[in-house]
């Protein structure tokens, strides 16, 4: 029962202009993982590999205990996949899609689907052509949620949603997590949503995983430290500094491993120690890794 819902090890996928390399990920049951990266970082490619939509060139992928892509059919019975690019079929209605899902998925929950129609303010009889972008997103999410899959894989699920719709959708995600045997992997560049609802966070940039850890650990460890050094005074060598900006006597240091010990090394010259939000951590982390890779 305690098997991981997602396990990727050393996965590699080479395209002509892009390489996803050495990607390893693990998602435990009952958790939400936020998958964060700039555009073109490899988020969608990673999710498509998990869904067996493309085959890896190297590495291992297991989803819900099934080997991917070999046993993808068995895995997909219990996965709900939604991408922001998905649209309902033209010339159909949401109601038609709901009937269709009901006919292929025995676990389809008609009562929950009806509740979601109301909560998302959708009209099952409306033609798909006249739906707004946000309505398409909510409709495809509804179709995935009402199957009550054990694992939800969501590619930019809140993109194109207004703040109210985003709130509605996120409330439904959290409701899924009342059940500790279900889990969600969602990619996003909206770090506010990710910071709020994720248990673990994985950063990806230029085809490589930059960092993956519990959210609280990121927030606990990263700090921006402001220092004012009188003329002639220098700081000792400091560990775990990822960014170092100097402006006359004023220094701004960014650390990924803050501790009292580190602060004490800087003596009485520290003027402020600031916590960082996820967006700041994300940007600092990506820039640090980019520099390290080009050196």
């Amino acid at each position: 029962m305690n098997d991981k819902h997602i396990e990727m090890r050393g996965v590699r996928k080479v395209y002509r202009f892009f390489t996803l390399d050495d990607v390893s990920l693990a998602l435990e049951p009952g958790q939400i993982m936020g998958f964060v990266g700039p555009n073109g970082a490899g988020k969608s490619t990673t999710l498509r590999l998990l869904m067996g939509m493309v085959a890896a060139d190297a590495g291992e992928i297991r989803v819900l205990g099934h080997e991917i892509p070999k046993a993808q059919a068995a895995a997909k019975r219990d996965i709900g996949f939604v991408s922001a690019e998905m649209r309902l079929l033209p010339h159909t209605t949401l109601g038609w899609h709901m009937e269709f899902m009901k006919s292929i998925y025995p676990q389809w929950d008609g009562g929950y689907a009806a509740t979601l129609v109301k909560r998302f303010n959708l009209r099952p009889e409306q033609n798909a052509r006249s739906l707004s972008l946000g309505e398409h997103v909510k409709a495809t999410l509804l179709l995935a949620l009402a199957r009550r899959p054990r694992l939800l894989i969501l590619d930019e699920p809140t993109t194109g949603l207004d703040p109210v719709a985003r709130h509605e959708v996120i409330s439904e995600f959290m409701d899924v997590l009342r059940d500790e045997n279900r889990s969600i992997l969602f990619s996003s560049h909206n770090t506010v949503d990710v910071e709020r609802i994720s248990d673990t966070i994985t950063f990806i940039d230029r085809g490589r995983i930059v960092a993956s850890d519990e959210k609280e650990k990121f927030l606990d460890r990263w700090r921006r430290i402001q220092v004012q050094l009188p003329p002639g005074v220098t700081l000792p060598a400091l560990p775990n500094i990822v960014k170092h900006e100097v402006d006359g006597q004023f220094l701004t240091l960014t650390t990924n491993e803050y501790s009292e010990g580190l602060r004490n090394l800087m003596g009485p010259h520290v003027t402020h120690v600031h916590r960082m939000n996820l967006e700041e951590i994300f940007v600092a982390n990506v820039m640090f890794h980019r520099e390290a890779r080009t050196q």
Binding site: Q31, H167, L177, R196, I197, D199, E216, L219, R275
Partner: protein, 134 residues
């Protein structure tokens, strides 16, 4: 499900508050316990229910509960849930802290008004008498 939402609607998380979310949640739970809205022995919402109610990750609520437990404000019984600790431990301590704060403030104001020590203690005695009459 909607009612569960409103059950914790008083607990708020502010994105503009510089403090981490788990600290904001801890503070608001402490306030409810200190005010006796959540009396000793009361069962706290389960971690997953509170996470879903507040749209906050499970790990954030876990962290808040763990820290409240180490402060002695709540007790967690394995497999049974978390409860507000009995008065002497936790809520008592919170009240003690509040008392110390108010006394310090009263002493300050007394000094500003130029009251002597005896005058100030007389005022406290009078306040106690007033309470008894009620």
């Amino acid at each position: 499900m909607l009612c569960i939402h409103s059950m914790y609607s008083g607990i708020n998380i502010s994105q503009t508050d510089a403090r981490p979310m788990y600290l904001q949640i801890m503070e608001q739970i402490r306030a409810r316990i200190a005010a006796r809205d959540w009396p000793p022995g009361k069962e706290l919402p389960s971690i997953r229910a509170l996470a879903a109610g507040l749209n906050v990750s499970v790990i954030t609520i876990k962290r808040a509960y763990l820290d409240l437990e180490s402060e002695g404000v709540i007790v967690t019984r394995h497999g049974k849930g978390s409860f507000v600790a009995e008065v002497n431990g936790l809520a008592g301590e919170l009240k003690q802290e509040q008392l110390a704060e108010h006394l310090a403030r009263a002493a300050e104001i007394g000094r500003v008004l130029g009251l002597t020590e005896d005058e100030l203690t007389a005022r406290l005695r009078a306040a106690l008498k007033h309470l008894d009459k009620k």
